[in-house]
Amino acid sequence: MSHDRKPRTTDNNGKHDRNEAGKTARSLEGHRTRRAGRQMDRLTEMAWSVNFHLNLPEAEEGQQALVFYPHDENIVHDSFNELIEEQSHKQDGSQVFEMEDMAGRGRENPAFLASPQHSHSNRENFSPFTLRVLSEMPSRTIGTCRGAIISQYYNSTMKLRHRRAALHLGPVRSARPSISGYRVETDVEAAGEEENRKHLFDNLQNLSVSDKGRMLKTMPLSLLEKKNLRHACNSKGFPHSRNQIPCCSQLKYYLIIGFRHSWYSLLSFLFSLQLWHVALKKVSGRFGTSVLSYFVFLKTLLLFNVFLLLVNVFFLAAPQAAHPPSNQTHRAPFQGLELLTGAGYFTDTVMYYGYYTNSTVNGCGPALNGSGCAMGQNSLDTNPRMLYNFPLAYFFTIGVSFFITCIILVYSISKSFGQSYRIDNPHGDLAMKMFCSWDFKVIKKSSVKLQCENICTQMKELLSELARASRQQTLLQRLARMTVHLLAWVMSLGSTVACAMGVYHFSTYMHKDLTTRVSRNETLIHMEASLLALPVVVSTVNLLMPGLFNAVAWMEQYHAPSTQAYVAICRNLLLKMSVLGVLCYHWLGTTISGHVTLSKWVMQNGSTGGLECWETFVGQELYRFLLMDFIFTVLDTILGEFVWRLFSQKVLKRKRKPVFDIARNVLDLIYGQTLAWLGVLFSPLLPAVQIIKLVIVFYIKRTSLMMNCQAPSKPWRASQMTTIFITLLCFPSFLGAAVAVTYTIWTIKPSEGCGPFRTLNTMFESLKIWVRQLEEMNSNFSWFTWIHKYLVENPFFLFAAAGVLLIVIYFHTQVVGGQRKIISLLQEQIDNEGEDKKFLITRLQDIYEKERPVSVRFKQTERRDDSRK
């Protein structure tokens, strides 16, 4: 159907229908008792009021055009010519009939236009008889008419009974009850509602008590009706006693009510305590779901870190703090610079790997946590030597926390995938948004307003996406566009590679520099300050490069805001991941080999603040990176948003405020989180730093957003954004960190002079030793060693598990494919039925036309002639 003609007609449509609303309201009274009232005139009146749209949208528009431009005959005829032309394009045989019919009506229309009742004329194309039939179509009455509801439920009780009798399995209510009720519906015509109601009574009486109760409960009838039904059903039953509620039970109810009330108010209080609830709601009300998704993501990250921190404090830091190592060296004095470098004063604390001991302590010390104590006690029964083993605790804590994080991530990915990508949802979710978005719980005036704003923004987002999808381009334009895209990608990839190379060379240079500084015996503070250079350089790269990418994207000029966001995310991600990869290589390769020589030198000359322990050094590096990232984020917010807004408003006299860059900000978060995950092994308390950072960033970003930014000028849909973010968080970020950590645990030799694994060849060896010990001590654990031997050390198991997983995934995709096929078949069937309905209705009208009294036709012909003059 044509789009261009639409606006004209529908603009008037609104006006017209408002006039109509008054009339409709007046005739409303008949609706509820439509079937009860049998007078013909009343029925006819009701039938007029039914807002029937002809099944052909074209025809409908044509008619409306007629209605709204009654003075302009040309428009009338033009629109019909269009209609007829359109119709003649259709190949369907049944359409010919409709076309004729419409043309006939077109001829008739001027007569109606001449009549004073303009507002009615678009309905008068159908005879009262047809309209009456239409208004009684089951699919229409089921929504409002009491008789229809009763008959529908009569039908379903029938089914229930049949099912009982034949033990035939099937749904109690079909997906389209209106169709199933059709036969009964015709009965209604003959016998009336009372008859039907009687049937329903009979059926209800034959049901069991629980079924009856459920059936009555789920009927969308008024309480009065239900009461009557119930009384009629129970009339043969027991007489009821009309007792008042006894005093004590009344008291009980009051107590319960009071309790519930306080419980609800407590619940609403807890709801208001929900982290940043109000702030998030304000953000979503002003900036839409896209910006909201950034803050929700930040909140998710915060929860991940809280979990990591709790686990680490509980199982590592607290036990270690309760049992400080005996050979403690003197701690460097606090100087202030430590906050930036993470070294010096902090080096020999629970913050870093190097502080932890390889000792085994008595699990029932006063400061120890419960589980450690229980662990100790349980094993005391079997073996008095089995106590809180720090290497093992370290290994398991890190391993288990990574494992749980992985499970949570995969679970949330699958959940959000399930929500945002449904198989039966090919054309978006505009209708769903419309019908389901209103939250009836919201009662505060300001929040209702916010909700309105929010829904409006979302609607506009969806619409802008749709409008974009309908535009087309020529071949030449497309070619030019492709060239520009290619150029942009070359530029961004080239700069990414250059950055990674630069960072690598700079890091090796810095390490050499450090070695020379150490051999020159410089003061500690100078050395530590020089260590800050690398994080500053990397953070500068992270700050400046997105600007370059943005410039490139500006050159490309994407139409769709979401595509632009995806491309920006892709480029930034590539940059960050390559820089991080280079850094990981540097830390796990160069630093360690360098440290072997360094630590030897350190051994000879006494302690130099953690340099003898490469794990601590890497932990400190990660701390510095995390902190620099934070500082640069704050700087970026202040300079990039606040100062830029002042500059553009005061100097450039622009009215526009800067737009919040979601993609870049989310990637900054992911980058920071990757650093935190990488550092957990080397610095168990790093999540605490990350938590503080996230909380501060939340408030800074929110304030800056409210103050400096405006809602995105090109609103875009964010339904799948959260899914993308969480996937990115899982795939390159978490998985990368996990690979690096696993590699360290499995293959790299830990430092000899510090840390819980100081005597071992790899960290993984602690597990092996433990398993061996377990085997020696107690034969009951032999199954455990068996598991270890065959499942952990044997790669075959991993391959088998992966294979099974792949097979399951394959089957699932096949099932989804099959369901898609069935859905499309059903869709086709429904379309066919719709066509049938149209055909039948036009046929009905046709038959009525033929049976019309001649006098009426004659009158109309006369009128038509008048109007033609």
Binding site: H3, K6, P7, T10, D11, N13, E20, T24, A25, E29, S49, V50, N51, H53, S139, R140, T141, I142, G143, T144, A175, S178, L216, K217, T218, P220, S222, L224, K227, R230, N243, I245, S249, Q250, Y253, I257, H261, H427, G428, D429, L430, M432, M434, F435, C436, W438, F440, K441, I443, K445, V448, C452, C456, L462, L463, L466, Q827, D831, G834, K838
Partner: protein
């Protein structure tokens, strides 16, 4: 307050409980709230409360669909959208926690069916959009946007292509949204 609560007999209470999705406590709370809308010596079980009074309830006060909700649940003979206590219970039952998605979508459909003709047509949808986006001029959609929006909604949800959305089509759309049941709720 105690006097008004005693008006519900035990038997009536259990009957209400059986016919609605409300618990006894919720029914009693509803009764208390309903009695507060009446003047002192009116019988809370038989008197109808006019629409204007019902709409002073804070739960309905700012709801853009408040008039529709009253209209749908009113069984008044005079068509003045007044609510009796039983109508009020009906309302709360449909909006309660435990009501089934079918009931909820049925009443949602009737609330959104502004002209009560049993289907959602273009006028109803336009009404609905205006209710959702609010009355302020900045949040209103432009006529072009409105046309586009309604066109797309019909395209998505009107399965049998008759130009309107009927109840089963509506329920089909609703079934795709898991949040509907939790958002279609009014808590006293």
């Amino acid at each position: 307050m105690g006097a008004s609560a005693s008006q519900i007999s035990k038997e009536l209470l259990s009957e209400y409980q059986e016919l609605t999705f409300l618990t006894k406590q919720e029914i009693l709370l509803a009764h208390r709230r309903f009695s507060e809308l009446l003047s002192k010596n009116q019988d809370s079980l038989t008197t109808r409360v006019p629409q204007e009074k019902v709409l002073t309830l804070p739960e309905l006060k700012s709801n853009p669909f408040r008039q529709r909700i009253c209209h749908v649940f009113s069984t008044s003979e005079e068509k003045d959208d007044s609510l009796s206590f039983e109508d009020f219970l009906d309302l709360l039952s449909a909006f309660s926690d435990s009501a089934t998605p079918e009931i909820k979508s049925h009443y949602a459909f009737r609330i959104f069916d502004f002209d009560d003709d049993g289907t959602l047509d273009r006028t109803d949808l336009e009404h609905l959009v205006n209710c959702l986006t609010g009355d302020t001029s900045e949040t209103r959609l432009t006529p072009e946007e409105m046309t586009q929006l309604i066109h797309n909604i019909l395209e998505e949800s009107d399965i049998d292509k008759d130009g309107t959305v009927n109840l089963s089509e509506f329920q089909h759309v609703i079934s795709r949204s898991p949040d509907f049941v939790s958002s279609f709720k009014i808590v006293l």
